[in-house]
Structures are given as C-alpha cells and as structure tokens.
C-alpha cells in the first residue's frame, strides 16, 4: 500500500507541480508584462500621441509621460518626453485656453530643467528648448513673437552648431516659417525647403529606440503634403 500511495502521491505532485509551475510562471509573465520597461512605456505613449488628432488622447499620453517620470525617475528621457508632450498639447488646446496652455508649459519648463540637470548638454537639449519657446510664442503670437522668437532662433542656432545633421532643427524652422504670415516672410512656399531638408535627414536617423528623440517624422510628411497643396 505504502509504495502505491507513495507512487500516487508522487505522480499527483508531479502533475500538480507541473501545473503549478505553469500557473505560477503565467502569473509571473503577466506581472512582467505589466512591469514594462521605461523604453516600452515611452514608446507606447509616443505612438499614442503621434497617431491621434484628439486632444484628449494627447492629454492622456502626456499624463502617461508624467507618470513615467515618477515610475522611472532615474531615466532622463521620461522628463524629456513629458516636457515635449506638454508643448504638443499646448498646440492642440483651443486658442482661447491661454491660461491653461501657459500652465502646461510652466510644467514643461520644470520637467525640461530636470532633464537638463540629468544629462549632458546636446543638440537635442537646444532643439527641445526651441520647441518650448515656440509653444510659448504660439499661445499669444502677436504679443510674444518678439521675446520668444528670439529664444527660438538662438536655441536652433546653438543646436546647429553642435549637430547640423539634426533633422528637428529644420523641421522646427519649417513649422515656424509655415505659420508665419506671408507678409513677414513666412508661408508654405518659404517653409517647404526646410521640410525637404528635414525629411532627408530623418531618413538617415536611427529610429531603433525612443531613448533617443525620434519625433518629427510623421509631422514632416504632413507639412510637406500641406506645402504641396
């Protein structure tokens, strides 16, 4: 009897343990899936932002980046994207929401400062500074172009001095020209060469990881299409 029982138990345990292991492993897998890496998290939110025209989705993505700054507090790119997303969000908000736009941009400035304190100064630092200045200007263009237009230009110049191959320099210059009234030297025709340069450089860009800024590709295509119309 004894061995039989023993044998039975052993068998049962074998089966049970197998199931258990599978079950346990599956639980573990689920847990791992929930515990995304910083890179995966950022990539997901960036995709969400890039593929929507809905201000709510952008807000959600931006909130996601904010959360990422807390979850992956040691990863500087979380702050980078949190600041970046606020600038984009400010463009999406309706014109009349000036206070709100400034409020998001205030937060973006703080996150950008944090990013700067964690990283070495690079062309991307100045590109983001230029984007934030452009967003500030866009809140109230008539009153702010003088002050922020200057900051925008200065930062793009600094970025170019460090890396003239950064496509975002030309993309930003293009968008700023695109939205400047024709009588002040802006407009589609004047903006197009910038987007064309940006596109060429974007093709050379290494898009393998979001831990290096990669934004601007889809947007450049959109603007080029607008310029052709």
């Amino acid at each position: 009897m004894k061995p039989k029982v023993h044998e039975y138990l052993q068998k049962t345990i074998k089966v049970m343990s197998k199931t258990m292991i599978i079950a346990a492993l599956s639980v573990l897998t689920i847990n791992t899936y929930a515990q995304q890496t910083a890179e995966e998290t950022l990539k997901g939110h960036l995709q969400q932002m890039d593929t929507t025209q809905d201000v709510n989705k952008v807000m959600q993505a931006s909130g996601g980046f904010d959360l990422a700054t807390k979850k992956f507090a040691s990863e500087p790119m979380t702050y980078y994207y949190a600041a970046y997303s606020k600038a984009i969000l400010s463009y999406y908000l309706p014109e009349s929401e000036m206070k709100k736009k400034d409020m998001y941009l205030d937060q973006a400035d703080q996150q950008f400062e944090k990013y700067k304190s964690m990283t070495k100064e690079s062309d991307e630092t100045f590109v983001l500074a230029a984007l934030l200045a452009n967003a500030r200007m866009a809140v109230d263009g008539q009153k702010r172009w003088k002050e922020y237009g200057k900051i925008f230009d200065e930062n793009l110049e600094k970025a170019k001095a460090l890396n003239p191959e950064n496509p975002r320099i030309y993309y930003l210059r293009g968008t700023s020209t695109f939205w400047t009234p024709k009588m002040f030297g802006g407009g589609k025709k004047n903006a197009k060469p910038y987007f064309e340069s940006a596109k060429k450089l974007f093709e050379k860009q290494d898009n393998s990881s979001v831990l290096k800024p990669i934004w601007g590709v889809l947007q450049t295509d959109w603007y080029l299409k607008q310029c052709e119309e």
């Binding site: 639980v27 709510n56 909130g63 807390k70 009153k143 230009d153 009234p181 009588m183 450089l201």
Partner: protein, 724 residues
C-alpha cells in the same frame, strides 16, 4: 526519491506562497479625483511611491490600481494646474474606494493686480490693456504715443492747440513723463503758441507703457494729475537695419546684436515741407520745420541677473510760423524758433535672486530754445540731472517692500528782451511702499513719500494707498487714493515767486473684467485741489504768455469728479479689434488768474473715442478708423456776465489709416497712409475777443484735413541656420 519529493514539495509550497501573494493578497485601490467644484479631473496621474504602481484617471476622474505590495505606502496625485496631493496609506489585501479633491494651484496669473488708475500697455504682462503695437496702429494717433494715450479714458482730447497731456481736469503742467525711472523734462517738442507739438519719442523704443490717470505709486511725485511711465526695450531680437521715408523726412536706424550686448543707433533728417505742401494749414509757415537728430543706445544683459541700458539723443530743429497773437486778438505775429535738445539716461536693474532686486537710474537733459517773438529775441534754457536708487525685496511670498530715493536738480532760465528769469531747484525724495497679498483675491499696497524742495525750502510727506479684490475668475474691484504735491508752474518760479506746494487728493474706484481678449473697465473718481497758485490784484487775461502775475499766493482750490468707461473687444470678429472709451467730467477750479471757481478753458465735459482696426489678411493690410468727439470747451467772453461760461462748438474728428505689410527677399516693408479729419470738419476750439469785446475771432486747430504718407523698410540679418 525522498529527496526529490522534499524538493518538489518545498518548491510547490514556495510557488503556492508566491501565487497567494500575487493573486490572493492583492490590494485593489479604486478612486475618484475631483476638483473643488466636484468636477472630475481627467488624466491626473495617481502614483504609489513605494510600489511604483501608477494609473491615470479617465474622463470621469476614476482610476484603478492594483498592487501586490502591502504595507506603508504613499499615494501621490498630480495634475497640471492643481496642487499635488500626497496621502499615506497602509496597503492591505483588500479593496479600497477613495475620493480625492484637488485644489487649483496658485499661479501669479490668477492673482489680483491693482488696476485702479492705471492702464498698462505692455508685451510682458498678462494684465496689459494695450500693447505697444496698438499705439502705432491707432488712426488719429499719428504714430505718437501721446496721440494714442489721448484715446484712453480720462484724457482730454487735445484740439491741436495745446502741447502736453491733460488728465481728469488737470492742465498740461500736471502730468509727468518718466523714461526708465527718470523724468523726461522735455518729453515734447518745444511749445509753440496755438500749435500742439508731438512727443519726442519713437513708439517702437518702448516695451511697456504704464499710464496712470491718478492715484499713482509713491515712486513718483511732482505731478498733480498723472504719470506716464515708459520702459525702453531690452535687447533687440536681431541685428537689423531700418530705412524710412515719409512726408516729414527720412531716417535710418539699426541695431547690432552681439550676444548679450546690443548697440542701437539712428539718424534722422526732418523736413515738413512735403507735409505742409499738401495739407492746407490754418497757420502760415514762413520757415517750414526742419531739423535733424542722432541717437545711440547701449543695452547689456549682465549675466542672467542684470540689465543695463544707456540712451543718448541729440537733436536740432528750427521753424518759423505766423500764429495768432496771444496778446492781441485778431492780429498775428511771427514766431521763429531754434531748438537744441540733449537727453541722456541710463539705468541698471540687478536681481540678486528672485526675491531681491536693485535698481539705479541716472539722467541728464539740456534744452535750449532761441526764439524770435514778433522780432524780439527770446531765450529759454532748462536742464536737469536726476538720480534714483531703489531696492525691492520679497520678504515672503505674500509680502514685498520697495524702498527708494531720488534726487532731481533742475534749472530754468529765460530771457525776453532785457527781462531775465532764472531758478534752480534741488528736489530730494524718499519713498517706501509695501505690497501685501494675504489671499490670492486681495492685495493692498500702502506707500508713503517724503519730498523736500530746496527752492521753496519746504517739504511734505504724503500717503498713497491702493487695494484690489478679485470678485470672480476674471473680474476685480480696486481702489486707489493718495495725496500729491507739485511746485508752482515754471513761469511763476522764473519771475522769482516762491509759492508753496500745490496739492491734490485723489480717490478712485475701479471695476474691471478681462476675459478672452475682451476688457471692460469703469472707473469713478473724485479729486480735490487745494493750495493752487493764484494771482491777486490783476484782471483776467486769457493770454497764457502774459507777464504780470500780480501778487501770488496759494489760495486757489478746486475739484474734479467723473466717470470713465473703457470697452475693448478683439474677440468677436476675427482680425477685428475695437475699443470705445468715454469719459464724463465735472470740474471747477479757482486758480492762476481766474476770477471765479469755474470749469477751466481746456476741459471738455464729454469725451468719446471709438477706435477700430481691421486686418485684411488677403491684402496684408491693416486698416484703422477712429472717431473722436469732445464737447465744447469753455472760452472767455468779456461781454458775458459770467466768467468762462460760454462754450465752443463740439469737436469731431474722423481719422483713417492704412498700412500695407509685405516681405520681398529678406526685407520687410510697411507702406502707410493716414488721413486725419477725413471729413474736413471745420472745428472751432473757442473764441478770442478784442479788448473792447466788440470783435471775436475763432481759435482754430493748426489744420483741418491732413494726409501723411510713408514707408519703412527693415532688413534683418540672414539667419544663421540656413539649410544644410
């Protein structure tokens, strides 16, 4: 076998423990995040500091977090525009239902700002009612800051015969223009009888204009009515070159930007022959105004904390004009003038940190007029030195203090034939002002200013106060009041009279709503005047260039009360902007050589301005049309029983201006045309009577309809980051 069994069993138990911790003992935290009003806050981030679990709220403000971690943790909720909420939580394996309320973050934008008495025109501040660009694009303003200021409530419409600003019953002597902290003694071109003169300033030089129609800050004194406080630009945005030509002359100006330093320069040649060639004037020029000037400017950003500015200008002008003789009604006289003016001012602002700021300013000016008055030579000279030192300290987020001192030394000389007049004044002052904001909705700013005049050997100490309540998201009520002293006008001091200070007390209440590019303001005020200068023992003479002042004392008095309305709307129609200002004033004074307490002869009880601007995108053209109305001013009629009881006809003016903006190559060009008094309205400002009263002659503006044309070309340095 046994060994295997043991291992397997222990493995099983280990797994069971592991599973139970992750499945059976999970904490589930459900929650809802709302704002103070109970509205859900969407996309707020909810984060647990220990377990690093996080979630976003959805559009209903709800979130759900699950965590395997048990023990002490902290929930952190953040959302832009709200104060962070942090709450310790003991996490156990159970289901939580939590509610959170977020409070709006305090931002300076939401804070109350004191608005009584002051209208801001600035690029910097969110509270500005006007921007500098508004000033130059206002039809009827003739591109002059003062022209635009005259469209604001509380300011008397100038019919074109007086030089200066007349605010709320005050005459032209009662306003002061300040540039970067020091007084511009010769803000206007030298006075010509019956012909209003422009200000000397280029409106593009200023980033901010703060116009106070009363109750102004303790920083300033020696103005019974108002202060126009101008702040020059910081660093230019680019190196550029400007060339321009218009019917008053040609000019060139430019700026060279060198990192944190910039040098700006300009030169102009003035000749009004083209302008007066087209426009018919009511006065004859035997020598058309001509002249020239140069100016230079150095601006330095000293590290991140300091801003240094230095302005210098020198100009020379001459003209000869035949004007109605102020002495003998009905006759005319020649008035020839050569003017030379030098102005230098410098200022330095230094931020030690965000809570401590020093400011210093110094200015110097010298102004000489060589006049021939009906063939008689007349010489006028005035010069001024002024220094100011100031420290501002924010002791607490709710409390800051400003302490300052200023010294002004100025002297005037005049010689007419053999008559020489001269005086030197040394005026010293100190002031202290607090600002206390106990709540976001309430601010109070009490101040005190002490002054001492060496010339009259007298001093005064005056209180000033302003406070404001925020009554809604975009509306507020403010109050301001204070005492103001000013020495007697220069013509008396030049003759050796040394009367005491003249005094004014202001009280005003203001209600303002600013929302989405719409502004509504209403302001009621009461001012009392006391110790005004009075001439005794002489008969009334309407000639403002009279010589005999009799016996002078400070027995004059008066009051002014009124209400000002301002409405501006940039929102309702795209690219269309308009404002309406209306002022009503009731004022009387007994001063100078008046024989009775009456409404002064420069006051129109009703003033209305309607300014419209429309930008036609397709044509790249900005069009502005304005209408000004002023009810008739009193004038002196010797045959009338009552003093200054007759009123001139109402004043109407429709003005139009258009500017076409374009860019070719790298050159930005603006072509502009402005037409003043489009309808050629024959305005009459009053009458002058012959000595016996048998004849009367109308006082006319210098011109009726006038046309002004010009072009400005601006070349900007090529951008550094051209295509790769």
């Amino acid at each position: 076998m046994k060994n295997i069994f043991t291992i397997k069993t222990s493995l099983l138990f280990a797994l069971l423990i592991l599973m139970s911790s992750s499945v059976f003992s999970q904490a589930v935290i459900n929650g809802k995040v709302k704002d103070k009003k109970g509205k859900p806050v969407a996309y707020a981030s909810v984060f647990m500091k220990q377990s690093l679990e996080g979630a976003l709220t959805d559009t209903t403000g709800s979130f759900k977090l699950t965590t395997a971690y048990t023990g002490n943790d902290t929930i952190l909720i953040t959302s832009p525009g709200f104060e962070d909420v942090e709450q310790p939580i003991l996490v156990q394996a159970k289901i939580y239902n939590l509610n959170y309320t977020l409070f709006e973050a305090e931002s300076t934008l939401d804070e109350v700002t004191i608005s009584a008495g002051t209208i801001e025109a600035s690029n910097d501040r969110a509270v500005a009612v006007l921007t500098p660009l508004d000033i130059v694009t206002t039809a009827g303003g003739q591109g002059d800051i003062i022209g635009a200021i005259q469209t604001l409530p509380g300011v008397q419409r100038n019919g074109g015969d007086q030089t200066g600003l007349m605010v709320r019953g005050g005459d032209v002597n009662e306003s002061v223009v300040v540039v970067d902290g020091t007084v511009a003694q010769n803000a206007f071109f030298s006075n010509v009888p019956g012909v209003a003169q422009r200000s000397r300033f280029n409106p593009f030089s200023f980033k901010g204009t703060s116009f106070s129609s009363g109750g102004y800050t303790a920083r300033y004194g020696q103005a019974l009515s108002s202060v126009l406080d101008l702040q020059t630009n910081d660093l230019p945005e680019k190196t550029n070159l400007n060339l321009g030509a218009n019917m008053a002359g040609v000019y060139a100006s430019g700026s060279k930007l060198m990192g944190d330093n910039a040098f700006e320069y300009s030169a102009n040649y003035l000749n009004l022959a083209p302008f007066y060639g087209i426009t018919k004037t009511n006065v004859d020029f035997y020598d058309v105004p001509q002249g020239g000037g140069i100016s230079g400017r150095w601006v330095s950003k000293v590290s991140k904390e300091g801003m240094f500015k230095m302005n210098f200008s020198h100009s020379f002008n001459k003209m000869g004009i035949e004007v109605p003789n102020p002495e003998i009604a009905g006759s005319s006289m020649t008035f020839g003038m050569q003017n030379e003016n030098t102005f230098f001012n410098t200022s330095y602002k230094h931020w030690v940190n965000s809570k401590l700021r020093y400011f210093g300013a110094f200015s110097f000016s010298n102004n000489t007029d060589n006049i021939t008055w009906s063939g008689f030579p007349m010489y006028r000279n005035d010069n001024r030195l002024q220094g100011r030192l100031e420290v501002w300290h924010e002791m607490h987020r709710k409390f800051n203090v400003l302490l300052g001192t200023e010294i002004q030394r100025y002297s005037y000389t005049s010689q007419f034939d053999t008559l020489i007049g001269k005086f030197d004044e040394l005026m010293s002052a100190a002031y202290l002002e607090f600002e206390y904001k106990p709540w976001r909705r309430f601010a109070i700013k009490p101040g005190v200013r002490g002054e001492y005049s060496q010339l009259i050997a007298r001093g005064n100490v005056v209180p000033r106060v302003a406070f404001a309540f925020k009554t809604g998201e975009s509306s507020q009520v403010s109050f301001a009041g204070g005492m103001f002293y000013q020495t007697a006008p220069t013509q008396y001091l030049l003759q050796g009279y040394r009367p005491g200070f003249q005094q004014a007390v202001h009280y005003m209440a203001n209600y303002q709503v600013m929302k989405n590019d719409r502004v509504f303001r209403v302001e009621a005020y009461y001012k009392s005047y006391d110790q005004l200068v009075r001439e005794n023992g002489v008969a009334y003479n309407p000639n403002q260039y009279r010589f005999n002042y009799g016996m002078l004392d400070n027995s004059g008095s008066g009051y002014a009360q009124g209400i000002d309305f301002f409405w501006r709307d940039k929102k309702s129609i795209k690219n269309f902007d308009y404002w309406i200002s209306y002022s009503y004033i009731e004022t009387k004074r007994l001063y100078q050589n008046y024989t009775d307490k009456v409404m002064p002869d420069y006051v129109s009880p009703h003033n209305l301005n309607v300014i419209t601007k429309y930008f036609i995108m397709k044509w790249q053209t900005n069009i502005s049309v304005s209408y000004n109305y002023a009810s008739g001013r009193p004038y002196y009629n010797p045959t009338s029983e009552k003093f200054l009881a007759d009123h001139a006809p109402d004043y109407h003016n429709v003005a139009l201006s258009a500017a076409y903006l374009t860019t070719f190559k790298k050159m930005f060009a603006v072509f502009y045309i402005s037409v003043d008094n489009v309808l050629d309205q024959k305005n009459i400002l009053g009458y002058r009577y012959s000595y016996d009263g048998s004849q009367r002659y109308p006082m006319l503006p210098p011109m009726y309809r006038s046309i002004f044309l010009g072009v400005n070309l601006s070349l900007t340095q090529f951008k550094q980051e051209e295509l790769p």
